[in-house]
């Protein structure tokens, strides 16, 4: 079995069947981790390039480990933010990697749509490791898998996303995956950080976090970027903490077995209190472990052939 596409650009483009296939494929890879030899020869002889235009430690490392456990050769490239504007064009960089016979290019970019540009111009499989405010599909998948693993189902789950929804690619990928799988998704945050028309994706909007957590089976907390305060999207960190930090107290209003998730890196004491981050409800470290298994599954399931490219077909 494999996904009928060359690239993973966003979860918007996957259907329920695809998501189920991915969920089912993760487990065997995860079981590998407890063995003494954590490797399979699946991608032996393949070259995986991580092309990161934004600093990232955990996502890049996670992809690197995933690819290495599949026996691929991995090359990491970091490009400074300034060269997005001044340096070589993205397409030229992509073509260079293609000339070096990269089979997979995993791209992280500060601008939405950058992976789409690569996918359109390259034969290699493109995996979006986060683009601008658009999507972060493997994060969405690992969140989905973690919920599935812990709650044994997705359908009917009440999932709450908290914080800066407007600038969050993680939120977007979560929403696509969860709504397709039948979960009830809600978001909570200040109105300035909730994008317009988000309700059209089947999402309920709360401004009051206390109210929002009551029904949640899962609370997924997003990292707040402190520079948003300079853009006048909220008045001060102090007020943000006051209104939106997930504290023990607030968690007390939720179901006792509520799952607390965070894509990391956490701002402890800002969007999440240390007590919550370290509580038994939190599955933040397991998300990291699952991330590797999910990324292995994605690398395994993509079909690196141009003819199978769904999107190309849609373009014609």
């Amino acid at each position: 079995m494999s996904l009928n596409c060359k690239d993973l650009l966003g979860l918007e483009h996957l259907d329920k069947k695809d998501l189920q296939l991915i969920l089912e494929s993760v487990k065997p890879f995860k079981s590998l981790f407890t063995r003494s030899v954590k490797k399979t020869p699946t991608l032996i002889g393949k070259t995986v390039v991580t092309l990161f235009y934004e600093p990232s430690t955990r996502t890049r490392t996670s992809f690197e480990i995933a690819a290495k456990r599949l026996s691929a050769d991995v090359v990491n490239i970091s490009v400074g933010a300034s060269s997005v504007v001044k340096g070589e064009s993205l397409i030229d960089t992509g073509k260079t990697l293609e000339a070096m016979k990269a089979d997979y290019v995993i791209i992280r970019h500060s601008l939405s749509g950058a992976p789409e540009i690569l996918a359109r111009n390259l034969n290699a499989s493109i995996i979006n490791a986060g683009d601008g405010f658009h999507e972060h599909p493997t994060q969405g998948l690992l969140d989905l898998y973690t919920m599935y693993e812990k709650k044994k189902k997705i359908e009917g789950l009440n999932v709450l996303l908290v914080g800066d929804i407007l600038h969050s690619r993680v939120a977007k990928s979560n929403i696509w995956a969860l709504t397709k799988m039948g979960a009830n998704v809600a978001v909570a945050g200040p109105p300035t950080l909730i994008p317009p028309k988000i309700e059209s994706l089947g999402v309920k909007v709360y401004y009051d976090l206390d109210e929002a957590v009551k029904r949640a089976d899962v609370v997924n907390i997003l990292r707040i970027q402190l520079e948003r305060q300079q853009e006048n999207l909220f008045p001060s960190v102090r007020e943000y903490v006051e209104l939106y930090q997930l504290t023990k107290e607030r968690l007390g209003n939720a179901k006792p077995n509520v799952l607390v998730m965070h894509p990391g890196p956490m701002n402890r004491g800002i969007e999440i209190s240390s007590a919550v981050a370290d509580s038994s409800n939190a599955v933040i470290n397991e998300q990291v472990t699952n991330g590797i298994a999910v990324r292995m599954a994605v690398l395994y399931l993509l079909k690196p052939s141009k003819t199978a490219n769904k999107k190309q077909a849609a373009l014609n």
Partner: protein, 444 residues
């Protein structure tokens, strides 16, 4: 492509070989001239650059116009020819070729060249170049403020003497209400419009597409309709205050249409234009991050298309213009955020108007010609244009309503190829174009 260019080059040589006496007869053609309220089949004559009722001798050129329609040459009131300064994108030569191919016989060009058109020598340079290398009439628009910086009114009187037909800071709209007030007030004595590219730059800051469901899904920073509408409202109020003559550029939203409609009802001296993409495309087509769908104002939604069409049909919107904005492939072939705003439009305007407005019964052909020729000539005081009556300049666009073609990238005459309409199929377009009685374009 080669054939087409050869044809055009041939046309240039014929056009500008001095003061050769010309005479032209187009036989058996349907003549649609809203300036005279005429729509009939007959012959059209031109001699020495002007329309005449009768030729003084045997015509040098005779064309059979059966099945075709002659209309007053189209006038595009909003374009960017990029020369001087950005000849990689377009030149006066290539731009006017492209205009001719699209049935356009006169273009008004915006002042955001390098240097900007805030001084007489730049106006003179453009007019000289147009005379020497252009195939259609070129009318420069001058800067409203010096350097288009929005700080001091430009020397509008000097610029007018040099040949401008309006003032505008176009893409760098005057943000200070006081300066805009003064500009509208001062320009009154020149009896031509101040063109407002209505955009509140604070509200649109960093935005690259329309604010709505699609921008949310794509994760692109957005420009709300209100960024346009608050400035349309402000400038209407300032026109009301000063009695100045305001022309609103490229109307893209339902709210703007309504504001202009109300202003006209009140008797404010305001006119408006829209562009073919604002009555044809929605922001749904941004989906693949195709930078040929990125322009300013951005593509909106269906309700806006409907409102723009209603505004065209009830006379709220006076003109249809292209906002022809050429950009090189290497500039456009980038991440959506970084790529420049703008699309080319000369070669598709007429066909889009025919297919989207006339065929769909939003406008009659006569009304369409009004918006693309008669009204532009009136608003910008282009005497002797926008009409086929005796004595007018013999600027003629011959339309073949049966002319079917696919708009391919290879067929584009403009130096830049940034169009969202590539590979669209059209029915109806310009097949013969005459400027001053000389044929500058003939479809192959």
């Amino acid at each position: 492509m080669r054939q087409l260019n050869d044809r055009l080059i041939w046309a240039v040589n014929v056009t500008f070989n001095g003061t050769v006496k010309m005479s032209l007869q187009i036989k058996n053609i349907r003549i649609v001239d809203p300036s005279q309220n005429k729509d009939f089949v007959g012959d059209l004559f031109a001699e020495n650059g002007r329309i005449v009722s009768k030729l003084s001798s045997v015509p040098k050129t005779v064309i059979d116009g059966s099945g075709k329609i002659a209309v007053p040459g189209l006038i595009d009131v909003h374009s960017h020819l990029r020369e001087p300064g950005q000849e990689g994108k377009e030149t006066i030569k290539t731009g006017t070729f492209a205009a001719a191919k699209g049935g356009i016989t006169s273009v008004l060009c915006m002042p955001n060249t390098k240097p900007v058109i805030d001084n007489a020598p730049t106006v003179e340079f453009i007019l000289f170049k147009a005379q020497k290398e252009g195939v259609v009439n070129v009318f420069p628009i001058g800067c409203a403020t010096k350097g288009s910086l929005g700080e001091e009114i430009s020397e509008i009187g000097v610029l007018k003497k040099a040949g401008i037909v309006a003032v505008s800071d176009d893409g760098s709209p005057v943000s200070s209400s006081q300066i805009m007030r003064r500009t509208l007030e001062y320009a009154k004595m020149f009896k031509f419009p101040v063109i407002s590219h209505s955009e509140d730059k604070e509200l649109s800051k960093n935005g690259v597409m329309n604010e709505g469901k699609n921008s949310m899904i794509l994760g692109l920073r957005a420009i709300p309709r209100q960024a346009e509408e608050v400035m349309v409202a402000r400038d209407i109020m300032l026109a009301e205050l000063t009695g100045g003559f305001l022309h609103i550029a490229h109307v893209s939203t339902a709210g703007s249409v309504e504001l202009i409609r109300q202003a006209k009802k009140k008797g404010v001296n305001v006119t408006a234009e829209t562009c073919p993409h604002y009555f044809t495309l929605t922001d749904d087509i941004v989906k693949l991050y195709d930078t040929n769908t990125k322009m300013n104002p951005p593509l909106r939604e269906q309700i806006d298309i409907d409102a723009v069409k209603a505004g065209l049909s009830d006379g709220t919107i006076d003109c249809i213009a292209t906002d022809h904005a050429p950009h090189m492939q290497e500039e456009k072939n980038k991440e959506f955020d970084i790529a420049p705003f703008g699309i080319i439009g000369f070669e598709t305007m007429l066909s889009l108007v025919l297919n989207e407005l006339v065929d769909k019964k939003v406008l009659t052909l006569s009304q369409a010609v009004e918006k693309m020729s008669v009204n532009p000539a009136k608003i910008f005081n282009l005497e002797g244009r926008g009409s086929l009556k005796d004595g007018s300049f013999a600027d003629i666009t011959v339309i073949d309503p049966e002319y079917s073609y696919r708009f391919t990238k290879e067929s584009i005459v403009s130096k830049s190829k940034n169009s969202p309409f590539i590979d669209r199929t059209f029915k109806g377009g310009a097949v013969i174009v005459a400027v001053g009685g000389k044929i500058v374009y003939k479809a192959a």
